[in-house]
């Protein structure tokens, strides 16, 4: 069954890029969110198989959003989209329950490889 993905990033161009990667890789992007608050709402509504989460976003950070989502479902699969220099934030997100992370700038095959592994498909 095609896996359903929620893409969370405050930059439209990043969302578009990530959406393209997933669509090209056989995933279905079921929703997107531009901040942490929206992310939690969308997640509750959509219950996706996978969420990609930017870390630094307005209103609510990706770390807090991750924490909230994990509170609803400890098994929720969330992959953080980070940049170099954000190591400590990524570790915080991992503590909050993130399953894995990718580091920007990323290549499409790297993203797909990480999420497939996380979902146990690789």
């Amino acid at each position: 069954m095609t896996k359903r993905v929620l893409v969370v990033d405050d930059a439209i161009f990043m969302r578009n890029m990530i959406k393209d990667i997933f669509s090209g890789g056989g995933f279905e992007v079921v929703g997107e969110a531009a901040n942490g608050l929206e992310a939690v709402e969308k997640w509750k509504e959509l219950k996706p198989d996978l969420t990609t989460m930017d870390i630094v976003m307005p209103f609510k950070s990706g770390i807090e959003a991750t924490r909230d989502i994990i509170k609803h479902d400890a098994k929720a699969v969330i992959v953080m989209c980070s940049a170099l220099g954000q190591e400590s934030l990524v570790m915080e997100a991992i503590e909050a329950g993130a399953s894995d992370f990718i580091v920007k700038p990323f290549k499409s095959e790297d993203v797909l490889s990480v999420v497939k592994k996380v979902l146990g498909e690789a």
Binding site: E87, I94, K117, G120
Partner: protein, 646 residues
């Protein structure tokens, strides 16, 4: 750690000895009721202590075995086991195995747990809980021979220990974060016993050679662990290995090296040290008596006798000094291992802690020091377990993520004050009141009428614990009541201060010694007398004739007020010497307030070994004890209050 090994070996052996004595007693005298409960409590504590000490020393095998024994004792204590003789057999076997492991540890080895024994203990616990005879429990693990892999070391709680080695691929831009993710994942599958590099190193971005090695206690199969790690990207290699069983313990032939190591420190009963002190005192007196006798000898023999006595007195004096120094021990031996205990514990609980120790050089009588070891570790564990909040809650509260525990020792006159403070969440007086009422140790009305600070002290009553969850860290019945009992048994006092969100402080006020007191030596005429330094406020040199007088007696202006001055010689009925123009006045604390005692000279301060007075001297008012100075001279220690009342 090596410097604590001797201490660990001697203490652990003592606990194990008591444990095996207790087991034998339990079996021999079919005990019942409170007596049985008390004995089992005792044995439980011994096993618990061995576990805690071994854990602090990093001797996992000993800790794991002691943990199993403690479990079984816990079941017996709750009266669940219908098959006591088998349990005693098994526990004796465990005690023997622990003794043998401690001996190996004394030779510098880190012995592994005996898998078969641990399995038998685990089965006995399971069987007892189900109310079955001990032999009938299901095997906790398939027989080792049936397993393709090396049999795993049983870790606490029916788990197995694994070594997980991971290397992060060169393409990963943030290898430390990968390592952190692996660690987090493993933590979800079991308990991480050790990690190299540590989680702190990983947080700081350090992962030398991109390799991570973790010792994990887990109930999962190696395949399940491998599957879990296969979901993590950027890992070049993953090796999972069940820890191999330890080689069989060496035959009881003792290695000379092990013996030599163990003999460097010897544990001596405090009573024996008391006896040494007494005897040295007697020796000093006897030598002084010999010298007196010698003076009446005719000349040709007198010279030789004098030389002999000189030599004897020299030796006795030296011995006296040695015996004294043996008794006084810096508390460093006690407190230096605390940071490690706290750190290990905090890591296990996902907390961070920084322990600061001050005043480790403060000396205290060894007899007291020995008693304090368990209580202090307990107070520390209490602080980490119940006091400190998890890092995220601390940050929410605006505190640094790492909790801070201060262990501070200081001398205050004739007391040693030992404080253990944390900057955690504090204790809630309301909850303690409620717990005390629930336990029936205090009535509800009485509890409510107590001021908060007094309510906190209720936590020291037996059975009052405010923890909702009894953890294996500081719960399980070895509680603050035990701490208080020990502190009071050495003549000390335990106090708790706490304020919500700011932290908690445990204060142990301890006597410096059970038998040694600092005394101020003074001269009156030809006599030398001692005043307990704790009672001395100060001293001044004055011309008695020029002092103000009131009701016929002189008054000394002191500390903004006036104290009445008494002539110490006259109080004691000593023949009055030629009155010098200037006298020294010692200001001392008496029951009715401060008084001045006029003496001919202040000689100085000395650590005095107090010996109780025998009759008829004990009947003389104003004398409290006698001590013998290094030069052989006996000196009476005065009781100022009784002296004035006489």
């Amino acid at each position: 750690m090596a410097k604590y090994l001797g201490l660990f070996v001697s203490e652990a052996n003592e606990h194990l000895q008591r444990l095996s004595e207790g087991l034998v007693r339990l079996e021999r005298a079919a005990l019942a009721g409170p007596e049985r409960a008390e004995l089992l409590d005792d044995m439980f504590r011994h096993a618990h202590s061995v576990k805690g000490m071994a854990g602090a020393m990093g001797l996992e095998g000993i800790a794991a075995t002691a943990h199993r024994a403690e479990d079984l004792l816990g079941v017996l204590r709750r009266g669940q086991s219908p098959a006591e003789p088998e349990a005693v057999d098994l526990l004796l076997a465990a005690t023997d195995a622990l003794s043998s492991m401690v001996e190996q540890a004394s030779a510098g080895a880190s012995p592994e747990a005996d898998a078969a024994l641990a399995d038998r203990l685990a089965r006995a616990v399971a069987a007892a809980k189900e109310g079955l005879p001990l032999g009938a429990g299901r095997p906790a693990a398939p027989p080792p021979a049936a397993e393709a892999e090396a049999p795993a070391l049983p870790a606490p709680g029916g788990l197995r220990s694994f070594t997980v080695q991971v290397s992060v691929s060169a393409g990963c831009p943030v290898p430390a974060v990968r390592g952190f993710l692996v660690l987090k994942k493993l933590n979800g599958l079991g308990a991480v016993a050790r990690s190299t590099p540590s989680v702190e190193d990983l947080r700081a971005g350090r992962i030398p050679s991109r390799r991570l090695e973790v010792v994990l206690d887990s109930a999962e199969t190696p395949q399940a662990l491998e599957r879990a790690l296969s979901q993590i990207s950027d890992l070049e290699s993953v090796t999972i290995r069940a820890l191999e069983e330890a080689p069989p313990p060496p035959a009881p032939s003792r290695e000379p090296a092990a013996q030599a190591e163990a003999s460097r420190t010897v544990r001596v009963r405090a009573e024996l040290l008391d006896y040494f002190l007494d005897t040295v005192g007697e020796l000093i007196l006897a030598a002084a008596r010999l010298r007196e006798v010698g003076r009446s000898l005719p000349e040709p023999h007198r010279q030789a006798h004098e030389e002999g006595v000189d030599r004897l007195q020299g030796i006795v004096k030296d011995l006296h000094g040695k015996v004294m120094s043996v008794r006084m021990t810096p508390i460093a031996t006690l407190v230096e291992r605390l940071p490690r205990v706290a750190r290990d514990l905090a890591r296990k609980m996902g907390k961070q802690v920084e322990v600061v120790v001050t005043g480790a050089e403060i000396e205290i009588d060894r007899a007291i020091l020995d008693e304090l070891s368990d209580p202090l570790v307990h107070v520390l564990r209490n602080a980490v377990d119940h006091g400190l909040e998890p890092p995220h809650l601390r940050q929410l509260a605006g505190k640094p993520a790492a909790g801070r525990i201060t262990v501070a020792a200081r001398r205050e006159r004739d007391r040693v004050i030992l404080e253990v403070s944390d900057d955690g969440k504090g204790m809630d007086p309301a909850r303690i009141r409620a717990a005390a009422v629930a336990r029936g140790v205090i009535g509800e009305e009485e509890a409510l009428s107590l001021p908060d600070r007094e309510a906190l002290q209720l936590a020291c009553l037996p059975g009052v614990s405010t923890s909702d969850v009894v953890t294996d860290v500081s719960g399980r019945g070895v509680g603050l009541d035990a701490v208080k009992r020990v502190v009071e048994s050495v003549g000390g006092a335990l106090e708790i201060d706490s304020s919500p969100a700011v932290g908690t402080r445990f204060t142990l006020r301890l006597p410096l010694t059970v038998a040694v007191q600092s005394a101020l030596l003074v001269r009156v005429g030809d006599e030398v007398l001692g005043l307990p330094i704790a009672k001395v406020h100060g001293a001044a040199e004055v011309e008695l004739a020029r002092l103000e007088r009131s009701q016929g007696g002189p008054l000394l202006g002191y500390g903004g007020g006036h104290v009445p001055v008494h002539d110490l010689g006259r109080l004691l009925g000593l023949p009055a010497g030629p009155p010098g123009p200037r006298r020294s006045v010692v200001v001392a604390e008496a029951e009715g307030g401060r008084v001045g005692l006029a003496v001919d000279a202040l000689i100085g301060q000395e650590e005095a070994v107090l010996k109780p007075l025998g009759q008829p001297l004990s009947l003389v008012p104003g004398l409290s004890a006698v001590t013998v100075l290094g030069n052989g001279r006996p000196v009476f220690i005065l009781d100022v209050s009784r002296l004035l009342a006489a």
